[in-house]
Amino acid sequence: MTVSPAARFELAALVAVLAAAAIVYTVDPAASRLLPPCPLHTLTGVLCPGCGSTRALHALLHGRIASAFGFNALAVLFLPIFVYSFASRVSRLLRGRPLPAPFLKAGAIYALLASIVIFAVARNIPLPPFSALAP
């Protein structure tokens, strides 16, 4: 069986994602220096839309759903998309075709983009209710 370089790269990337998930499961990002905090936040104090996502994933993998939402609600909401995309890539690698994907109209994609930008802005406002979005 011949494996194309692209497929080999894809396989390596998928294994790397699994390995990263295993590390995030094992290591508590809040307590360990192995998973350092976001450089942007350390340098500027600004919270990016991804801040808290490692802690959220760690909490989620340990079944603490409410706590995961508290760290990064956006990452938790988007996680099913990432998991499905991962499954689709595994399917393409094993069966030669991806999983069926919905066709998103441009408007839906702009709505996704707007939700990310609004989330990024809102979680930096240090007043309730917006401060609930900060990790």
Partner: protein, 124 residues
Amino acid sequence: MICPRCGAESPDDASFCVECAQPLSPVKPLSPVKEIRQAGQHATQPVKSYLVEAIVVTVLCCLPFGIVAIIFASQVNSKLQAGDYAGAVTASQKAKTWSIVGAVSGAVVAVIYGLALIAGQSGF
């Protein structure tokens, strides 16, 4: 090789049909048809929008590059809907490029940051 005139089978390396002496071209007469069919298949091939990749880049590391990638991802789908296949392919390539730019610049920053942390801890 099948003779296009009488349908008799000749050896593959034959220059003329063994039955009717029709000149046999080594280039298969079917090839233009095949090319057209391949072009047709190409046109119905799905065009990747790289939307998930763009979202990952936007959320996890590089908001500015990720936003550009998401905008091109939306153009892929709007152009596909408008029937502009070539435009969708171009937008798809741009969405891919900007996702990669974002991911690579994020990785570079992460490496520099990691080295800075190690240097800071070891007192350099």
